[in-house]
Symmetry: C2
Subunit: 238 residues, 2 copies
């Protein structure tokens, strides 16, 4: 090979080396970013419960997350958490023993809060999770718990259709969305409509972390027809 | 009033009296029949659970039945029942305390059995309920438990789509229906496909007892789009 202009060839070599290093740095940064958006499974999911917790608000998303696989691994690792370790009676009289309490629960990546009575330190716990978890999602009137904790002020949100009026009056600072199946309220917070709407929000969270193919596969396994965020299954059913 | 033909008028009076008595008897029998098809609410619903019971197989129908009203009364009264009173770990690690055992449970009008490990006397208990309950319904691979108990021989039935082949090989006497959301197997027995299919079968049972308006109202409250028995949400999702 001929180098008629050696200075130029040295410059080319230096430039190539510089570009190669830049490429390495960029690809490393890209890998980091990619890891942030697609964390190593399983992600930990905390289901907050207290007396009168609604059954399907919790168990709809529970089934979605338990049925999701990420490659050959489970996509999520689930647990219930409450203020105390005592048995809890949820709707219809179902009796549940919490896996953890607020004080000994593992740090969750995802938090699910459905309709329920609530406990003394629930608001405080939710505010902390809104800063250090990846997703905090409400189902049904679980949105009232997020709003009570001040987490929805100035944000879009939704709740069960029978509670729209009460919600709008109680939380005038929240931009209530009526008729959406679910709403993204912030980078971290999502709110679903009533009951089975939580299934579709959970599938949306699966899609966020593991892609649409994983979410569709989970829905098919569950023999569930997915609904989009904007789909209004309330007005169409009423 | 004139009775020119007194014998004839007595005959007419006797005939009228006979017809009146017949009408009373028929209407009484009609009322009895009507009471049988529309019993006084709430109907008792037993949800059979054992280790590894699938969460939404149980909780989908649970939510349907708990949300159904019949006039101003709850349509159903729900409880979990298992072989023993010990806490049970169901799918995803949810811990449930059974409300009753096989030996102390109230007599159920409706029995729901989803996917689960099973216990020693489950088959015997199911056979007894198939003779003295109004409805015994399986969800998902709960159909294997009914088939193991001999309750589906010579009958139409369905199960979760991933288990069609296994079911067909194991129970050649059962007429497996592939792709239906749910199937009526006999006067008493009904079988649903996988997971969320149980929600639509439960709504069908609500309709059976309390009419289509009650079932539609429950579905609307749950923000759930009903699917018919024949609707194939498996093939369309795959």
């Amino acid at each position: 090979m001929k180098y008629p202009h050696s200075n130029q060839s040295y410059s080319t070599a230096a430039l190539s080396a510089f570009l190669a290093m830049l490429l390495l740095l960029v690809s490393d940064r890209f890998a980091q970013l990619h890891a942030e958006s697609s964390p190593a499974p399983p992600l930990k999911v905390a289901f907050v419960i207290s007396n009168s917790a609604n059954v399907i608000d919790m168990t709809g998303p529970w089934e979605v997350f338990q049925d999701t696989t990420a490659g050959d691994r489970p996509g999520f690792d689930l647990f219930t958490v409450s203020e105390s370790a005592d048995a809890i009676t949820i709707t219809g009289g179902l009796r549940v023993l919490p896996n953890y309490t607020f004080s000994n629960a593992p740090h969750p990546d995802v938090v699910v809060i459905g309709a329920q009575e609530g406990t003394a330190h629930l608001g405080e716990w939710l505010r902390a999770r809104a800063t250090d978890s990846r997703v905090v999602m409400s189902v049904c009137t679980g949105a009232f718990k997020l709003a009570n904790a001040g987490l929805l002020d100035g944000k879009k949100a939704t709740t069960h259709h029978e509670f729209w009026e009460t919600f709008a009056k109680k939380f005038p600072k929240v931009d209530l969305q009526r008729g959406n199946r679910f709403v993204q309220s912030s980078d971290v917070i999502y709110t679903a409509g009533g009951l089975t709407s939580g299934i579709d929000l959970a599938l949306h969270i699966v899609e966020k972390f593991y892609g649409s193919e994983a979410a569709d596969r989970t829905a098919a396994y569950m023999e569930h027809r997915r609904s989009s965020a904007k789909e209004d299954t309330v007005s169409s059913a009423l």
